[in-house]
Amino acid sequence: MKKGLKHLLCLSLVAVMGISSVACNGELPEPAATGEMTYKVALNTQKIALDEDISSLSGGAIEISSAKGEYDSGQFIVRCDEKVNSYDVTVSDLTCGDAVISKDHIEICKQVYTYCADGKLFTGMSGPGYYPDALIPVEYIKAEKEDVIEKDTNQGFWLNVFTPEEATAGTYTGTVTVKFNGNGILTVPISHTVYDFKLDKSENFTFKSNFLIWNYDGGWMFYGELTSSNDKYMDYYDKLLEYNACAYNFPNDTPEMWVGYVKEYFDKVSAFGIPYHAITKTENDWDYQERYMSALLDACIEDGKDYFSKAYYYLDTYYDEYSHDSPSVSWRKELVRPTIEGCNDLEEKLIQNCIDSGKASSDCVYFETLRGLKHAITSGWDEEFADLFELCCPGFSALHYTSKLEEAAELTEKKGVEWWSYGTIGMDAYPYPGWEINDSLISVRDLLWNDYINNITGTMYWCVTGFCNWSYHIPELNAYEKLQDFYTTASHEGVSNGDGYLLYPGAPYGSDEPFASLRLAAYRDGVDDYMYMTKLDSLYGSLAEKYETVGGGYNFVSFLNEQITASATSKLNHTGLVTARDNLAEAIVMAERYGLYLEDIHTNGNKIEYSFYADADAAVAVNGAVPTGTVAGTGKHYTGSVDITADRTLKIEVGDSVLNLVTAPTGSMITSFEDEASLRNLYLLNSADGCNYVGSVGDRTDCAEVTLHGKNDNDMILKTFKPCVMFDMTQWDCAPDRVYSIEFDVYNNSSEDVAFTVLFESATTGKVFEYDKLVLKAGEWRRISIDNLNIVSLDSTTLNEFTHVGIRCGNLVDENNRPKSLSLYFDNLYVRSI
């Protein structure tokens, strides 16, 4: 009886507790069910949104691969059919036989989702929604009790794995364990391939960068931190460096402080900036700058080290974005010349002072470097400053059109101009690769591949700590409105989501260090890719000498890049990029191990033609057959060709290493315009004369001739009239989303170069997609190639709307706006499809 009463009372107590907890919030308490958790893995080039359907992703192991001394990353996404009220994520050591990579080298982060509205500038890959960006280590998430996952919702986790330099090459395995809701357990396998070469950052970190941390109103701009001290600045600097990015400034309260940082960090960075102080927006404090540069010159002489070799100027107050920043265009442009010339004068003054004081003689090697310091100008080429510009940093979009890239290459060759890309709002907008949160991670990664191919040696990003609403400045507080939540609210939301920051503050989670973003993680991987390329280039340079030939890694990287690139636009060839990177790594291993130097690989019709060198005693096979080599220096040279196979691979075996390269698919000639009937392939817009079949042009026979005319009926027509020559894609036997490449030849039969846009158009909906811009030189043939259409960032439905592809020029009028004509010839329309 007593026992029964006690039980009754206990039950009453429990019931009352239940009432008291339910009554006030009107909700039932959370069920105690564990639920079933499942996972999928994604490549580290993919960004998986909160509500994205992940059923097609792999359920296998998290695949990670890296060189020794490199960070690499992987990710997995979990879902649970019950709400997860708490979880923990742990990882095991990774093992490969007896070799171990300690779990201490692995960081597991929760991907935090940010809401991104449709951007005015960047429309996003998949429309508005919640996209992951901030990477918060799980221990901080748990401490803040944010270890919650809503029912049937994606939650991504990101793994940063550092492979020690002394690690043994091989494939390591391990597991990630997710414990959730008390008893639930999910195990995810990891497979980590360690390549048999070392990535030495002091040697290979050649890609320069300027990721700005603003010095705003007298202090470092850290809205999400409780302090803006120099120590905090260096926390951010170190985090950037961990992600292969360099900020412009070192703390510079005094010249001694600044020089101290330069000395400490010199071997770790790819570039650093010269400090300056603006007295006003138009007046530089030359004495201030002299003190700092003089102190560094003294340090060079004292230490016998050329510190200026990694330095550059970015005196943004005076010349930043002078060419497009409309409110400041008039006065900033006026300051370009005096600013650069002022720096030149200061350099000469420093040198003279140094000689006069007896610190160094006039032939001091550091003087040459000092005189060679470049100004990073955030604009394209400007003929007005042809005598001054040495380092141009135009927006991403400007460096993705063929015409701009060709101009840049020409300026590099003729004037030695260096090029960096520049990311900022409005200059990296869709469809170009960019930094927005709702862009795919592969965008950032692609940038580095394109940068290598196009000889772009660095990048700038305008602000990495702007945790604010850039659209709303509070003048009375001289501040921008802080974000409502630093992790889930995007700056520039609805314009250019997440623009202005790539790191996240640590203070809200009690961390001294800031946190990285997915975007920055992708950048790190991209710079690592770039380092692979420069390492291969260096190896191939040495091997070319050994084989008594010339060359480097450019041709081979170009071949790899052909499989993943698409001019001008973001592209989504995730597996293609990962495969290209694997091949790059294997090529490095084979170069070091067997002296393999892949000189040239290209497709020619239905053949793959190759030329490579290897050690004389190395066993070699191409697609299973042993080729005959000829003696070249101390090795052997192999040349030949093979048919393109169904799986499009070229298998090169050297010793016990294998390189499986993917080549372009075969194609078919749509027409070589050999008769009148072939003209039906052409579709002309705004061209009065139609087209003709012509027997020969120069040394070519059988072409189509098109004559385009300008028009000037009225002012509106003058501005909007754009003649086009298009090919009718509806007559081809493959849909646009299956097109791998479209190639054709064009001859400009005039005395002037003419700029053209390569575009797709839908005759039914009027939709237009501008693919590229290029110049047809007067009196020359040019082969136009539209590569990898199937991987541009347009979905199949959109691609398949297009009915025509071709070229379009501006209105053809002379200097007096009188209409004129342009004659073009077309030949050899060739299409490859997958």
Partner: protein
């Protein structure tokens, strides 16, 4: 014994469960007359604070200093070299975030904030309410309680849609790194409706200075930026010795630096808030009238400047005001016909009147009454 404890617990919990649900029926007025707007209890709350010239914010857990809750906000200014004047340091609270959700302050009569001054000397602090009003306080060493009026009825308040931000600006001192602890930012509710004030520029005398809200229509007149400590202070005077008509006049207090110099000794009326002076042009000689009292114990010079909307033109009149006296009535008159004569174009299109004072050395004040048109 155990049984009785169980029963007691059950009863207590039942009671608790029932009473906890009744809060929804209590009106705010019955429930509270004040509310803590910010308690500075977490790092995340501190991160909503805007700062200028602040080296570091931190949570203070010293029970001897914390005046509300468990924690307060420690504010440390930028380091200052010996002999160098520290920059003024400010912390600002902007409504509209997770920790300061309240946006409508029309039901608030006063605010208060506790500031602990750990320094051994007095410090000046300005409380700036969204550009609507500025209140100056002296922080004594130790705890200070600052209470300030919510200028709900001012034109600026209405124009800005309420409190847009609230700043504490700490005046820097030579060679000292500013350090303070801020806690318990509160508002005090009032049931009284804000008194209405409507500016009527069509009256002959458009500034009678009967209402506090009129002060928000005046602005300081100085080239370059100026701190709250250097601005003239505008208040409504009720001391009849300094009133010529009605029950109020404008008191303009000038604040001097330690060397007696005054950064700003001028102010002006709001732009385009003057009567249409063309209606007063004619045979009768109307004039712009301003009665000005010099409270300094020496004569000062006053320059009245009327700005025209046309071509940056202005009309000036200079005169001297004797010590401790009202200005001579004739001296301070600006006749409309004379002004019309000096301006280009047809008619008068005046923007505002500025009052410049010269020969002032040291803090002090002037009074102004009845700005309008008379004959």
């Amino acid at each position: 014994m155990k049984k009785s404890i169980m029963v007691l617990l059950a009863v207590i919990l039942c009671f608790g469960a029932l009473t906890a649900c009744t809060n929804g029926g209590i009106s705010r007025e019955e429930e509270k007359t004040s509310e803590v707007l910010m308690g500075f209890e977490s790092v995340r709350e501190l991160l909503t604070v805007y700062t200028e010239n602040v080296e570091e914010l931190a949570l203070c857990e010293d029970k001897a200093i914390v005046s509300q809750g468990e924690k307060a906000m420690s504010v440390i200014g930028k380091k200052t070299a010996e002999g160098e004047l520290a920059a003024n340091m400010s912390v600002s609270f902007v409504p509209g975030n997770a920790y300061l959700k309240k946006m409508d302050y029309t039901d608030v009569g006063y605010f208060s904030v506790d500031v602990y001054n750990p320094n051994e000397c007095d410090y000046e602090v300005a409380v700036v309410n969204g550009g609507v009003s500025t209140d100056l306080f002296v922080l004594k060493p130790g705890k200070n309680f600052l209470q300030f009026y919510n200028d709900r009825e001012t034109e600026l308040y209405q124009r800005n849609g309420g409190v847009s931000y609230l700043s504490l600006v700490f005046r820097g001192q030579v060679g000292k790194q500013s350090r303070f602890v801020v806690d318990n930012f509160q508002c005090y509710y009032t049931d009284t409706e804000p008194s209405t004030y409507s500016f009527d520029k069509n009256k002959a005398v458009w500034h009678t200075f009967e209402h506090r809200a009129e002060t928000s229509l005046l602005s300081y007149q100085v080239a370059g930026s100026i701190t709250p400590f250097e601005k003239p202070q505008f208040t409504i005077n009720r001391d009849s010795r300094y009133i010529l008509s009605g029950t109020g006049s404008l008191k303009v207090t000038f604040r001097a630096e330690s060397d007696g110099s005054i950064r700003c000794s001028a102010f002006r009326t709001a732009d385009n808030m003057m009567a249409d002076l063309n209606a007063y042009l004619g045979e009768d000689r109307y004039y712009l009238s301003s009665d000005i009292y010099n409270d300094y114990d020496y004569p000062i010079e006053c320059s009245l400047v009327v700005f025209s909307n046309y071509a940056n033109e202005n009309y000036q009149k200079k005169f001297t005001i004797p010590a401790k006296s009202w200005s001579n009535a004739e001296d301070s008159r600006i006749y409309l016909d004379e002004m019309l004569e000096s301006f280009t174009g047809e008619g008068l299109d005046c923007m505002s009147i500025a009052y410049y004072f010269y020969g002032i050395n040291g803090s002090g004040c002037v009074y102004v009454d009845s700005i309008g048109v008379k004959k």
